[in-house]
Amino acid sequence: MTGDPKRANLPPMSLHVPEPKFRPGDDVDFSDFDIPAADSARRPDTGDNPRDFHELAFGLVRVLDDQGKAVGAWDPKLDADTLRTMLRSMALTRAFDERMFRAQRQGKTSFYMKSTGEEAVSVAATMALASDDMCFPSYRQQGILITRGYSLVEMMNQIYSNKGDKLQGKQLPIMYSSREKGFFSISGNLTTQYPQAVGWAMASASKGDSRIAATWCGEGSTAEGDFHSACTFASVYRAPVILNVVNNQWAISSFSGFAGAEATTFAARAIGYGIAGLRVDGNDPLAVYAATHWAAERARTNQGPTLIEHFTYRAEGHSTSDDPSAYRSAQEWSSWPLGDPIMRLKNHLIALGEWDEDRQAAMDKELAEMVRAAQKEAEKNGVLGHGMHQKFETMFEGVYEDMPWHLKEQQQQMLDEDVAAGRPGPRR
C-alpha cells in the first residue's frame, strides 16, 4: 500500500474498531465485572485539588452493599422519610414512563423516551441540589421534574402536544421546559446544554448569587465538541457547576466503546481538565445523592466544578423508535451486576425496618392510579392523533420578541390559504 519501497517489509498496521461483548442471542456473562466494595472509596474534602482524584475517577463510589446496608465514608445518612420520598419519586418516574410508553404505542403521541434503570441519576441528584439550582438536562432526566413536583398533567400535555401544552405544540414530546422548576428547555442537539450550564453558573458566580448549575449528558454525547468546550470553560473560570455524565453503556445502538470507554473512564476525563472527577454507582441512589451533595458543596463554596460519571445501564430501548434486540443481548439488563436502583433502595429501607413489601405494593398501586388519573386529565386536552390542537397562527409567535413583517405576512398567507381550502381546525 505504501509508495515507499523501503517500507515494504514492515508488518501491516491494523485499525481497531470497538465491538461490544454481547450481541443479540449471546449468553451474557458479567463475571469478570469488577465491582469495588461499597465502603472502599475514600471521601475527600470538597476543597481538595482535582489532581488528587485519580483513584476516585477510576474507582466507583458506592454506599449500598449487597445486604442493602449503607456503609462507608460516602453514606449520606439520610433519614427514613427522605429515603421514602426518594423511593417514591423514582417509582413515580418509572410508572410515568410505563404509562407514556404505552400511550405512544396506542398512537396517542408520536414519540417517547423512558429512563428505566436510570431513575437514581435524576431523582437522587435533584434531591441533593437546592430547589432553585438550575438544571440543564438531556432528554432522559424526567426524574428532575418529578422530584421537583412538576405537574404530571403538564408533562403529559407536552407529550400529547395538546391544547394544554405550555410549549404550544412547538416541541417534540419530552423536550420539556420549566423555568419555574429550574429545568432548562431541552434541545434535540446533543450536549449543547453543557456550555450553557457552565455559562449560567459563571453568570451566577459573577453576580454573587448562591445558586449553582447542574447539567447531564449521556456517555455517547461526551464525544461532542461542546463537552470539551464546557469542561475547558468550567475549569478555567472555576464555574459552580456539576457536570454529570450518565454512562448507561449505550448510545442508541453504539456501545460505550465508541465514546472511548475501552481506553478510560468518563470520570477520568476530568483529570485532564483539572476538574474534580468522581465515578459513581449510578444504580445506588445513596451514592448518587452523596456525590451530588459533595459536588454541590464544592461548587457553592467557590471550590470549582465537579464531573460525575454515573455508571448505570439503559434498561430499555433508546426511544419508542428503537428496538434494542437488534443490537444487544436481551439478557444484559437482567444480569446487570449493579442491579435496579429502585429495588436497591427498597431493600435498603426494608433492611432498616422502615419499609416492607406490602407498603411497596400499595405505593406502586397508588402511583399507577395517580399517573392514570393525570393521563385522563391530560387527555381531556386532546392527544396528538386527534388533529392539531393549537391555533395555527401561534406557529409564528416567539420566533422573535416582536413579529417582523415577513412573519406577519406568512401568517396571514397561511390563514387565508386555510380558509380558502376549508381546512378544519382551531382558528383564532
Partner: protein, 362 residues
Amino acid sequence: MTAITPDPLADEAARIAPEAEREGETVRMNMIQAINSAMDVMMARDDNVVVMGEDVGYFGGVFRATAGLQKKYGKTRVFDTPITECGIIGVAVGMGAYGLRPVPEIQFADYIYPALDQLVSEAARLRYRSAGEFIAPLTVRSPFGGGIFGGQTHSQSPEGIFTHVSGLKTVIPSTPYDAKGLLIAAIEDNDPVIFFEPKRIYNGPFDGHYDTPAKNWSSHPAGEVPSGYYRIPLGKAAVVRPGEAVTILCYGTMVHVVANTIAETGVDAEIIDLRTLMPLDIDTIMESVEKTGRCMIVHEATRTQGFGAELSAVVQERCFYHLEAPIERVTGFDTPYPHSLEWAYFPGPVRIREALKKILKD
C-alpha cells in the same frame, strides 16, 4: 483610475438621528472607537451587559474594539476566553438564560462556523422552543468582509448563512455613527443579533480604489459620533443618496464603494444602505424600486444563495410591474476568497460600472 471625488455620504444628513435622541457631546470617532463607545455606554447603563471573547480583555481585542473596557468595568464583566467559538457562544447562551446580556466577540467571521450549532440550534430557537420561558439576548460581534488581503480565512462575508436562520437578526453598519447606534440597539434587543463589522472600513471609508491612499473617518460627517447614548432602530434602512435612475441595495463596505463609483459616473442612482438584513426594511426598498424601475444589488459575499438572491426575489415579487430591466447582482464570485487575486475578486468600481451600463442600457 480617476481622482478621488468628494465622498457622497458627506451630504447625507438624513441618517443622523434628531438631536433630542442623543446624549453627550459629539466627538470624532473611527468605527472601532464608535463600537468601543457603544459597549462602554451599554456597560455603564446596564450591569448585566458583559463582554467576552478571545483577546478582548486585558489586551483590548485584536482590532482594539474592547480597549480599556476591562480596566473600567472589571474582569468579571470583560474577560478573555479560551479559543473555542462553540464554547464562547454556548456559554453566552447560558448567561443569557440566567439574565445577563452578553456581547460575545468572534475574532473573525471566518471563525464563526464552530459556533454555528449554538447559534442556529440554540440561540435562534431558544425563545421559540421554550414558548418564551428562556431567551438568548446575545449580540455576537464579529469583524467581516474583505479588501484587506486577508485571504481565505480573514475576508469572508457569511451573512447569508445567518439571514437564513429563523430567530436571528443580522446587522451590518457602514459608518461609525451607525455602528454605535446600531450596536446599542442590538445590545438592548431581546433577540440574538449577529453584528458583522466591515473591518475594511474600521479606520476609514473605502471607495474601492485600492491603489490610492486610504482615507480615514476624520473628514466624514458620520465620523461625528455622540459620546453618550443613542440608538438607531434595527430593521430600518438608510437612503444614502436619493436618485431616480436605478436603486442600488448594498451594505457594509460596499456602501462606500457604490457611493463613490456613482459619484464618479454621474449616474443618478438611489443608494440604499440596508443596515439591518434581517428583519429587512422592505418599505424603503419597495418605495425606491417603484420609483426608479431598476434594481441592482451589491455585496462582497459569494453569489449563489447569497443574501442578494433573497433581495432579488423579494424585489421581483413585489415590484415586478415596475421593473424595466432584469435585476443585476454584483457580488463576490463563487470561489473561496483568494489572496493575490483579491482585486479581481472584489466587487469594486470596475465591476459596478459594467453592471450599471447593463442595467441602464434601455
